[in-house]
Symmetry: C2
Subunit: 261 residues, 2 copies
């Protein structure tokens, strides 16, 4: 069963990598919409158009399951996919996290950090409040560019986390609600340790990978193939860092991107 | 004479603001391609398509002069505009800076910082080397997101500048080759002052605004109008900060962006 994983860029490769580590036989088809990254600042109707085109591409190359690694796309754009393929399993980045908060009772208040669009959509905050959780939400837009620059252990990352997490204030649980954030889990943990604060840290990407890995049948060849809507050497370098080994990205433009002039 | 200014986002408003301060009567039409920002990581053929669509939009609303505030677009995408309107004055962000280096002899080596695409294009480095200058170039991709977060005087900006400018090494002149960088000129100056280094700092945005202000006839009503390809509250907030007062952004999608799903 081939799993089509997609994201606005190459950050979703962190989800794909977690999935492969949990289910080494899974056959992975990855699409990164590098033309339109970052989705975090785009409007919902734009994102819905991109998601439609990517879903069609992955279905066309054989995906039997769709995994939407992007929180922003998951927050605003999946009704169209579900209407087009009502029988295809479609995993969004949000549901596994909300299920975790239903099955367990985590310490409050729950902090949620992510891109502007994810936070503004209120998709985590509203659902968690309906479950009776006290919630604090904060958009932390600089974390993705810092991660893509490879500055995970850099003073600029530490300064950014200081500002963002102190603005968020005291929390019992912190939900990392962005595809890229698994790589800064250690830096976030150290921030709270320096303050002697005991905070449970959860990541939507890890919860998504765990859910897909549980559901996929225990078969497959362990293959992987990677496409991007816009190819550059930099994407190859960042993608290889996220995937953990050197990979080839194949260019595959979306229909909604303009033809060469 | 109406001047159509455009950029990949709202950063070009810094150029427009400099232009207005030098030529208060100029009538300004501004287009920010917020759907596709940042251009810095896009491929040349993508950028050429966006530039074509924006040029047609601004011409359609009455622009008699085009000012390409975006270094990345100026570096890769203007042959098409010039072919479509051979008689329209088109100012790119690069030529005024290169003219300055021809008319004056600045201290060497000359450091050039900008986005990945601008630096990789070598547009400044190659031209300056042809003029006989010793040149050091460095892509500094985190500066734009830091500026857009408003963290101009933040420890994260200081840490980023420390890393980037120490990697660049000793220079006699530093060219800020990105639309957004005028706002960090002070922070860059302080970096060199802390080291007791005497460095001349030039900005492509200021040199562009000066050239356009010199060339425009001394007439006009001092009007201004602003469009973006994708509207959001955040863009309005950042745009107002860059322009120096609250402004309204009108949504105006480009033909190459997908229709609402």
């Amino acid at each position: 069963m081939k799993a089509g994983v997609f994201d606005s860029g190459v950050g979703g490769l962190l989800t794909a990598r977690l999935l492969r580590s949990l289910h080494p036989q899974a056959d992975l088809l990855y699409y990164g919409d590098t033309v339109h990254l970052p989705y975090g600042d785009k409007s919902p109707q734009q994102i819905k158009g991109y998601v439609r085109d990517i879903g069609r591409f992955l279905y066309g190359v054989g995906a039997q399951v769709l995994v939407v690694a992007c929180n922003t796309a998951s927050a605003v754009g999946l009704e169209g996919l579900r209407a087009e393929w009502p029988h295809l399993p479609i995993y969004d980045a949000i549901t596994p996290a909300l299920e975790a908060f239903t099955h367990h009772r985590y310490a409050e208040p729950v902090g949620v950090i992510g891109t502007y669009t994810t936070i503004r959509s209120g998709v985590y905050g509203s659902a968690l409040r309906r479950m009776g959780y006290a919630v604090k939400e904060l958009a932390t837009p600089l974390l993705v560019p810092l991660i893509e620059e490879g500055w995970v252990d850099h003073p600029a990352m530490e300064a950014a986390l200081e500002t963002y997490l102190s603005e968020l204030g005291e929390v019992g649980t912190l939900l990392l609600a962005c595809t890229h954030y698994p790589v800064i889990e250690g830096a976030v943990r150290r921030y709270y340790q320096r303050r002697g604060a005991s905070v449970r840290i959860l990541s939507t990407a890890a919860l998504l990978a765990q859910k897909v890995a549980r559901d996929l049948p225990p078969s497959g060849q362990g293959t992987s193939q990677f496409w991007v809507s816009d190819w550059s050497e930099r994407f190859v370098r960042v993608a290889s860092a996220f995937w953990g080994e050197a990979i080839a990205l194949e260019p595959a433009p979306l229909p909604s991107t303009p033809a060469e002039w």
